[in-house]
């Protein structure tokens, strides 16, 4: 019998072919490979490139040395590796795509500036495996040939497809950078012209004086050769003045010229600013300056060389607003020559451009490099993911991270903006501070942008924004506060380091203001370094866009070995570091390095035994960027006064909260109204008695830490991915993980009990992935609680990390645990047990299989994400399937509806009882979110329900 190994030997076509080559055989260079590289390794397509990561290269076609690389972003030699930048610069700069002419065009008396549009080219070097998007632009330089200096900015990548598929985004980003650079260059060029004109006018005045002296010295009507020479020199200088004036006029006309490039991105604000500046300059140099002025100044200068020329200095200050090159400018005597033949030391790119604009351009390019970093397939999927999520806003709150940044990103790529003004204006809108426990109205508004018919909430948002969080909290009466605002305000109490945070914020403002400021700084050394701000931004999001592939390097190892949750005390520190990293990486501007560095100080470890004072860590709320810091500096609030003022408010919103879950809010007793709950007789709901319990709860469990994920900040995708690793460990280590996940997904509060805070926190962070509707900042998760919880807490939190302590408080905690044990699930991390009702469904089997072969946390996170989105879709279907919620006939009662729902879940969707409970819970949340988007959704539970099913104790 012939087996396949025997046959394969015969299938080697080449062996005989090599011996006697067929003259008619097609040479390989004219053929296509039958097994290209991509078949054997789809990831290896770009492996032959000599650089490791994509980078941005700025090159110049120097008139002295030819094409040369100037700088790379990131500015790290490791990025380019052995890739020959000189050669590549030669390749990308070897063509003058702009076809500009130089010098005097025919019929024109003066040299002309050529205003050429940028050109964009995608090209590659297939041998080197390098491909580039190249953006060609021209800058002006008075000393350069034809006054032009050709530059290009190139995005270099090993993946040609990545460039072509993102051509429009690249083009937009580089057009923005180019416009910014060119605007700065025109300003610098105009100033250079201004200085040159001053020199020329000064020279003219000197020559005039000398010529006058010559004339007077000689006999009347007869001019000596020296006098004639002086007169010629004077004429040349005057001609040169006319030429330069004309150049000034030309550069001033730049903003008014019609654009031929439909893809150019211009900022009207910048244009207007430039235009007014140019007009001033034009007015000023329309006529020759009075020779007397310069003569007097010259004399004065000759008298006291080295002294500051006051008048000149003042004048310069007036003239050169925004210029920090020199505090003053002293005109110099120059030889009258053609404008083309001046000193040939070519300026650097930085010198060619106004400093502010140059810095903004480099920042913009850095941001561009960051946003295009990573593998194309992940970039592509992320965009697709964002676009699809935007179409399902009604269910996003369940398991998806906030879309705000994506929205911004998309908006940013589509709308024209100016790098300089953007850096100042938009930062306040788009990048909240890293640690924010902002008042709930802000969050809810942000979460619910769909509802344009909500003028009230809009107004309140605006009002609060204007007041600032502190003020709004102080001014709102206790009864106005919702539970969420109370949570937020609680989180701000005791923040002894709030001043520091404010300072950090103020510093940020200051440095931004310095970028904005127009008047020159008399002492450049005292000027706040604009790099400071931008460097921090770079730091803050240096790894933001790293794809999952990038993250894998971080979590390698942890996944591959058998895992243990007993990582020891270092976990907590790790956690903090991760948070800090996460905040940095989330790319929010306004994140000061200081905040991250000082975070250990912000995390105040307080005696956990005393629950009245605190529980665990407190995180201060810094001021959101969107809120002007009105009143914060002028009315600093003593931290302790906040604690005192806001503590009692914790009691107030509870009743309202119970009403939230009901779709039938017209009930005469809204506080006690119960929503349509899951089917089954065994299910009860919160009653008025529970309300009394609530009172007790609020008075005791007063001090709550913020979210375990975002520490009060918005939970980011990266944090969730990190949590994925913890979740995978949990699933692998605990065979009863399935039950725990079911509890979370069906709305049963899970208490994670343990003595080791780090372990509990990490486990909570991991399990928080499975909490439906955790809130934008994870409000429904309590990472670490060191006091007994109450029934109200079970309503507020669906996942609680509880400290096990051996003290009187500890015994009361155990009491609370046993008291509410029928309503909750208890995961004991010390005993490694779980107490909860049994789960016999199938829906979750796939995400909680401890025998899974998924190796990495990031992969597991993706798997969980797709499973959860499938659950959300099913819940959406159940919620909005019309006939399940409306009687088909007028005679049909609630029992009929109930039966239909049951039948739908069991027969149509094929779900068991436990799986149905998940969908019912998710459906309730969706209903609540849909009916009351302004108050529901993210932070408030739909209703409090519990199940009398017997609990079991699961052990490893």
């Amino acid at each position: 019998m012939i087996g396949s190994p025997d046959l394969v030997a015969f299938t080697k076509e080449d062996e005989y072919g090599e011996a006697s080559p067929d003259p008619w055989a097609l040479p390989e260079e004219f053929s296509v490979p039958l097994y290209p590289l991509a078949d054997s390794n789809p990831w290896a397509k770009t492996s032959y490139a000599k650089f490791t990561k994509d980078f941005i290269l700025i090159s110049e076609f120097s008139e002295q040395v030819g094409p040369q690389p100037l700088l790379t972003i990131p500015d790290d030699p490791k990025v380019c590796g052995t890739f020959d930048l000189n050669y590549f610069s030669l390749r990308i700069m070897s063509v003058d795509y702009q076809a500009s002419f130089v010098g005097h065009p025919p019929g024109s008396g003066y040299p002309r500036l050529s205003f050429v549009e940028d050109s964009r080219v995608v090209l590659g070097d297939s041998k080197e495996g390098a491909f580039a998007y190249v953006h060609h632009l021209t800058l002006y330089d008075l000393e350069a040939r034809g006054f032009v200096r050709p530059f290009c900015m190139a995005y270099v990548s090993a993946d040609e497809r990545k460039i072509m598929l993102q051509f429009q985004e690249l083009s937009l980003r580089f057009s923005q950078a180019s416009e910014c650079l060119k605007t700065g260059n025109r300003r610098a060029f105009a100033k250079e012209l201004q200085r040159k004109l001053r020199d020329l006018e000064y020279t003219r005045s000197v020559l005039q004086k000398e010529e006058g002296l010559q004339r007077e010295a000689g006999p009347q009507g007869i001019y000596s050769a020296h006098a004639v020479e002086k007169a010629n020199e004077l004429a040349n200088v005057e001609k040169s003045i006319f030429e330069h004036r004309d150049l000034l006029r030309q550069i001033s006309s730049y903003p008014r010229r019609p654009r031929r490039d439909p893809h150019a991105v211009t900022c009207p604000k910048c244009m207007t600013e430039c235009l007014s500046e140019y007009e001033e300059l034009l007015d000023k140099y329309a006529t020759f300056a009075s020779p007397l002025n310069y003569t007097e100044k010259g004399e004065r200068r000759e008298e006291g060389e080295g002294q500051t020329c006051e008048e000149g200095g003042e004048e310069e200050d007036d003239d050169e607003e925004g210029v920090k090159r020199r505090p003053s400018y002293i005109p110099q005597l120059i030889k009258a020559k053609s404008a083309k033949c001046f000193d040939k030391r070519l300026k650097t790119l930085q010198e060619l451009c106004d400093e502010t604009y140059y810095t903004a351009t480099v920042e913009l390019l850095k941001e561009t490099e960051r946003s295009f970093r990573g593998d194309l397939c992940y970039l592509h999927t992320r965009r697709l993911d964002g676009a699809l999520r935007r179409k399902q806003k009604v269910t996003n709150f369940l398991f998806e991270e906030d879309l705000g940044e994506d929205d911004e990103e998309d908006g940013g790529t589509l709308r024209p903006f100016c790098a300089v003004n953007h850096a100042v204006d938009n930062s306040t809108l788009t990048h909240p501070p890293p640690i924010v426990l902002c008042p709930e109205p802000l969050e809810l508004d942000a979460l619910e942008p769909l509802d344009p018919l909500e003028p009230v909430s809009e107004t309140s948002h605006t009002l609060e924004s204007e007041l600032g969080p502190g003020e709004s909290q102080l001014e709102s009466s206790p009864s106005d506060q919702t539970l969420e605002t109370q949570e937020s305000s609680e989180a701000t109490k005791g923040s002894f380091s709030s001043e520091k945070s404010m300072e950090g914020h103020a510093d940020g403002e200051q440095s931004l203001a310095s970028m904005r400021s127009e008047p020159p700084d008399p002492d450049p050394d005292l000027t706040p370094d604009p790099e400071h701000n931008t460097d921090l931004e770079r730091e803050s999001s240096s790894e933001e866009v790293e794809t999952t592939a990038g993250e894998d390097e971080a979590d390698t190892g942890g996944d591959q070995t058998p895992v243990s949750l007993l990582e020891g005390a270092s976990e907590l520190e790790d956690g903090k570091q991760e948070e800090c990293e996460g905040q940095r990486e989330s790319g929010r501007e306004g994140v000061t390095e200081e905040v991250c560095e000082t975070e250990p100080e912000l995390l105040v470890q307080i005696d956990t035994a005393c629950c009245m004072a605190q529980d665990g860590f407190l995180y201060e709320a810094s001021v959101p960027d969107s809120v002007p810091d009105v009143g914060h500096s002028s009315h600093p609030q003593p931290p302790h006064s906040l604690v005192v003022n806001q503590e009692p408010q914790a009691l107030l919103p509870l009743q309202g909260d119970y009403a939230v879950g009901s779709p039938h809010s017209e009930s005469p007793t809204p506080g006690l109204e119960l929503p349509v709950g899951p089917p089954g007789d065994t299910v009860s709901r919160c009653s008025a008695e529970d309300g009394s319990d609530c009172t007790m709860s609020a008075s005791t469990g007063s001090d709550r830490a913020a979210s375990p994920l975002g520490y009060g900040g918005v939970v980011t995708l990266r944090q969730r991915k990190k949590a994925g690793q913890g979740a995978l460990r949990f699933v692998r280590q605990y065979p009863f993980a399935l039950q725990a996940l079911w509890c979370l997904l069906s709305g049963r509060t899970l208490v994670v009990l343990g003595a080791d805070e780090g372990r509990v926190r990490r486990l909570v962070a991991a399990l928080a992935l499975f909490v439906p509707g955790p809130g934008r900042c994870g409000e429904r998760v309590q990472a670490w609680l060191s006091c007994p919880f109450t029934l109200t807490d079970l309503q507020r939190w669906k996942l609680i990390g509880l400290q096990r302590v051996a003290s009187p408080v500890g015994s009361s905690m155990l009491y609370s645990l046993s008291r509410y044990s029928r309503y909750i699930a208890i995961l004991d991390t010390d005993q490694k047990t779980l107490r909860c009702p049994p789960y016999r469904g199938q829906l979750l089997a796939n995400i909680a299989d401890h025998r899974t072969y998924i190796r990495r946390g990031s992969t597991y996170f993706l798997h969980v994400q797709s499973t959860l989105s499938s659950l959300a879709a099913k819940a959406f279907l159940f919620t909005f399937t019309h006939h399940l919620h409306m009687p088909v006939t007028s005679t049909e009662g609630p029992e009929g509806l109930e039966a239909r729902r049951r039948s739908f879940l069991q027969e149509q969707l094929g779900l068991r009882e436990e799986d149905s409970q998940i969908l019912l819970y998710l459906s309730q949340l969706i209903t609540q979110q849909y009916l009351q988007p302004a108050t529901g959704g993210s932070a408030a539970a739909p209703c409090f329900s519990f199940n009398y099913t017997t609990s079991f104790l699961y052990k490893i």
């Binding site: 990831w43 995608v122 297939s126 009604v394 959406f876």
Partner: protein
């Protein structure tokens, strides 16, 4: 002795191509680097008719010459085709140039085949870029053989330049819009089966997704065809929709390689001639949907399709190489047989793999009330689920194989871990992943497939 005069410039030949409707292409050019004269334009193709924008021959020549600038430094491997893409705002044009080496008059020259469009068509053109480039690349392969043999390359190039002009012209009028109103699709029906049979719809969408979103819809009724085209396009990304075409009401377009979904009208006899070669050259396998008789057929999966495609290409190029004269083989001839390769003309097979993903989606989506955007939301959720599953699968394989360094041996585990045990589900998710990471099918399924093909070939040769 030199007379002191520059050598006579060869005249630039020009072909005017009659195109129906508005052609967004301004011109196509073939230029080469002459070792004495520098860049020279050899041939210009320009659409004939009333064009909104017009470039003079001088301008075209100027632009075409520019495409070769800098190529004196070219150090690519022999036979490589490099693509350059210019957006020249000063001239208001886009130029796509394919740079390659070829033999002209006994010398190795660098050549450029370029197409020129107005800059205003950038957004229109970009999604179609890959299609145009891939088609031009293949015609260049053929052209290089012709050049090597000393034959006229222009006729070979014309065989693809003209269809590309026609394609762009047809896309200008009949491309599927980026945003599709669900009301124009089958998914807006009150009940499943209103427009078409439930099983047919399920099969069509499932197969469409299994073949990477690449389908052709044929039928006699243009409205019916277009409704299915729009329905299938709902499952594509916006860029892919811009590479899809509705059918023309009065007469049919020709089949165009590379489009994702295309509607094609049958003739009065109720038949449609399917060009085997063009279908095989499509980057992905294709689903064939006949709305008249409610049949759905599909081509083999990606790895088989790619393999067949490459073998066919090699045979075609070999046949050209063996041709004795220019007239021997018309450029578009189907290669029916070769010593080593006989193409299987029966490339469309029944859809055998059932899935649960599309099945449950189709069953469920019609439960939602139409006209309230509920179905659009549910569709978005379904697509999100598919894309996430595809990314998870990709990541799973990436982890297992250390980014392709090791062979993938755990398909069974993958199916269990990612809940893809149903073959149809796996096919759908794999197809989406293939679009994200080209070559994935060949990497996962290629080895056993190649071995079995080789075994079959060897057995047949006995």
């Amino acid at each position: 002795m030199s007379s002191g005069c520059p050598p006579q410039s060869p005249a630039v030949a020009k072909s005017e191509v009659p195109i129906e409707g508005e052609c967004p292409l301004l011109a196509a050019t073939f230029a080469y680097w002459d070792n004495i004269l520098g860049p020279r334009v050899r041939h210009i193709w320009a659409p004939k008719g009333d064009q909104a924008l017009f470039l003079s021959d001088g301008e075209i020549t100027f632009l075409a010459n520019h495409t070769l600038n800098g190529e004196i430094l070219r150090s690519a491997e022999c036979g490589a085709v490099d693509v350059k893409f210019f957006v020249l705002a000063e001239k208001g044009v886009i130029i796509v140039s394919l740079i390659f080496d070829g033999e002209l008059k006994g010398d190795k020259n660098t050549c450029a085949l370029s197409i020129i469009l107005p800059q205003t068509e950038l957004a229109f053109y970009l999604p179609l870029h890959t299609i145009c480039v891939e088609r031009l690349k293949h015609v260049i392969r053929k052209g290089r053989i012709w050049m090597q043999k000393g034959y006229n390359i222009i006729s070979v190039l014309s065989s693809e330049i003209i269809p590309i002009m026609e394609l762009l012209s047809s896309m200008k009028t009949h491309s599927v819009p980026e945003e599709i109103d669900i009301k124009d699709t089958v998914l807006n029906d009150d009940d499943i089966g209103d427009s078409c049979h439930e099983d047919f719809l399920h099969k069509a969408i499932s197969s469409h997704l299994q073949t990477c979103g690449c389908s052709m819809v044929v039928g006699s009724n243009p409205d019916k065809v277009n409704k299915i085209v729009r329905t299938l396009c709902l499952f594509l990304t916006t860029a892919e929709r811009r590479c899809s075409r509705l059918c023309k009401a009065d007469s049919s377009f020709k089949y165009d390689t590379g489009l994702f979904v295309q509607g094609l009208l049958k003739d009065s006899m109720g038949s449609f001639v399917l060009p085997f070669r063009q279908v095989l050259y499509s980057p992905y396998p294709t689903t064939h949907i006949d709305v008249d008789i409610n049949t759905v057929k599909q081509m083999p999966p990606c790895h088989e399709h790619t393999y067949n495609q490459r073998r066919y290409m090699r045979s075609e190029l070999s046949a050209l190489w063996r041709a004795d004269s220019e007239e021997d083989i018309a450029p578009d001839t189907v290669i029916h047989t070769d010593e080593t390769f006989t193409p299987d003309l029966n490339i469309f097979q029944d859809v055998t793999h059932k899935d649960t993903l599309v099945k449950s989606f189709i069953d469920e989506v019609f439960m939602l009330k139409p006209g309230l955007s509920l179905r659009s939301t549910y569709l978005a959720q379904f697509l999100l689920l598919l894309h996430r599953k595809a990314l998870t699968l990709l990541k799973y394989i990436e982890d297992e194989t250390q980014k392709g360094k090791k062979p993938f041996r755990s398909l069974r585990n993958l199916k269990t871990d990612l809940d893809l045990t149903v073959e149809g589900d796996l096919n759908i998710v794999m197809a989406l992943a293939e679009k994200l990471r080209a070559g994935l099918h060949s990497f996962v399924f290629g080895k056993p497939f190649y071995t079995s093909v080789q075994e079959r070939d060897v057995l047949m040769s006995f």
